[in-house]
Symmetry: C2
Subunit: 320 residues, 2 copies
């Protein structure tokens, strides 16, 4: 009998969706689902993290609570929605100190407060594996929703902030080293909520996705959902200087953390032809154009004037 380990995450998810795929819901397979309420969409997303898979030993209880909240808010941001509220289900081992639960709660509260939203409630259950499932709600005007599938040939590809610091932190954790800024980037990601609402309001943004699974994987997802190809300009990727120095220190290939490592929780989005200046005016300098959407199936990386295929690589559950 085939196990999840045999088939991997992508096939398993495809099989699940083929059984339960909804006709009515918008955004199934997107960062979040959307339901029509009047002239707006209610956006909903759920994300689970658990001890063995998502919480390295160096992660504090505060960071566990923060992370479980932030990953959900990042999905709300990727839809262009304003955050409305969060619920959190906590599966807690009975031997866990109450103090740890309080620090987790602090992390949830601080991340919720930093996002200007409400904590709505939750569920507390006994579970041998520490597991937190957050579910976040957001609201967005119908004509402002950002979907993965809305990219068109000719769109520019852009990304907020810098790339690679969370991936570099993961490398450091494996080597038992410690760069505080990198570690905070990885363990306390800042969901790009403000940027998401600006992208939504701009009227010049096409598709959007967060980079939680890495730049290459996220770009593949976006291109696949939109039925387009892409040309990624390697020389323009805003690699985080901290990531570069961590890679230099350990003699690592920076591409691994830049292209194929996840955890940065930036927004990767496309800009309609002629929309760049308007978006600069609204969003300022905290984003970088890194490529272009093209017709067809090409998934190309341009580097020093040479073109090659960008591999579809990143974190995959059940196999990795």
């Amino acid at each position: 009998m085939r196990t999840l380990h045999d088939v991997g995450e992508k096939l398993a998810v495809a099989e699940i969706l083929s059984r339960i795929g909804s006709s009515g819901a918008i955004g199934l397979g997107d960062d979040a689902a959307a339901i029509e309420i009047g002239n707006r969409y209610l956006v909903i997303t759920t994300d689970m993290i658990s001890k063995r898979t998502h919480m390295p030993d160096c992660m504090s209880s505060y960071q566990v609570g923060w992370m479980a909240t932030a990953v959900n808010l990042s999905d709300i941001a990727a839809m262009g929605a304003s955050p409305l509220g969060l619920v959190m289900a906590m599966g807690l081992p009975r031997e866990l100190p109450l103090d740890d639960v309080m620090k987790m709660t602090d992390g949830i509260r601080e991340c919720v407060a930093a996002s200007g939203m409400e904590y709505l409630g939750g569920d507390t259950k006994e579970c041998p594996e520490l597991t937190l499932t957050g579910t976040a709600l957001g609201m967005v005007r119908k004509d402002g929703i950002l979907l993965r599938s809305a990219a068109r040939p000719g769109d520019l590809i852009a990304v907020t902030g810098t790339i690679g610091l969370a991936g570099a932190a993961l490398v450091e954790i494996e080597l038992d080293e410690f760069d505080p800024r990198a570690r905070e980037a990885m363990l306390e990601p800042r969901p790009r909520l403000k940027e998401g609402t600006i992208l939504s309001a701009s009227g010049v943004v096409g598709a959007c996705i967060d980079t939680s699974d890495g730049l290459a994987m996220s770009l593949y997802e976006l291109a696949r959902a939109s039925g387009c190809g892409f040309l990624l300009d390697h020389d323009k990727i805003p690699i985080d200087p901290g990531a570069v120095s961590i890679c230099e220190r350990h003699g690592l290939d920076p591409d691994e953390v830049t292209l194929f490592s996840g955890g940065d929780y930036q927004l990767l989005f496309t800009i309609r032809l002629g929309g760049l200046e308007r978006l600069r005016g609204m969003l300022g300098d905290d984003f970088t154009v890194i490529g272009r959407i093209v017709p067809g199936n090409g998934r190309m990386l341009s580097r020093n004037g040479h073109l090659k295929d960008l591999p579809e690589k990143g974190y995959v559950h059940f196999i990795g």
Copy 2:
């Protein structure tokens, strides 16, 4: 350092709420939270089940999916809301057969479909402990929301359906016996969604809660939230005949499964003075009046004309 096992579920939850209690949200500490949207409330609830705590070995994968869905829909029903949609986060061990995941998915789909709502999407993660977290949304008119805190002295106490079959099934499972009807009642509970919307529309219902934690615990929660006492008439409780015969067969005290065992997922609610006839007209015969809300702090059980205190007993996480 005090662990969750030391302090128990109630204190842990109280501590969590003291740190993160929201000012704005209605229904924190209720079966579900509520957010104002126009002249309605959006109701949201989240509920986690995991292998060791909630899934006996005899539970099929289909039933795991059904149960993870139904427990959430029961909370929506208890708020008097119409179901809107569901998301499900699944934490899956890598060695789990894909076939089991498909059967779980079938269980989710069937329970969602039976409730006339949409499956909106979800999350699939690797987790060593099989864990499912459902989050359900509902909508209810502002003046129709049912809260635990709305009981008033003089209200009648009533419950839908019958009580005790799920608790009796739990006893049988421990004894390795098998009554198919009891087992289905326990492992495939039917959330009382239709009844919840009728209670909401009736205009004569006060407080409402589901009986997932058992009749005694649920009644205590409702009375505590409303600042009232209760008088429960033991002779009127609609004990399921199947539960009676299981108890007789094993020489058990039927009170244990009737009063103190959870899992029936009926609605326990109160009816305003003079509202009983109107509710009979709308809901028919599938509910029973079992007591009365009284002023003060008394939590009494009347039996054969004798009064005694009803103990606050039921399933408690981390300790039980």
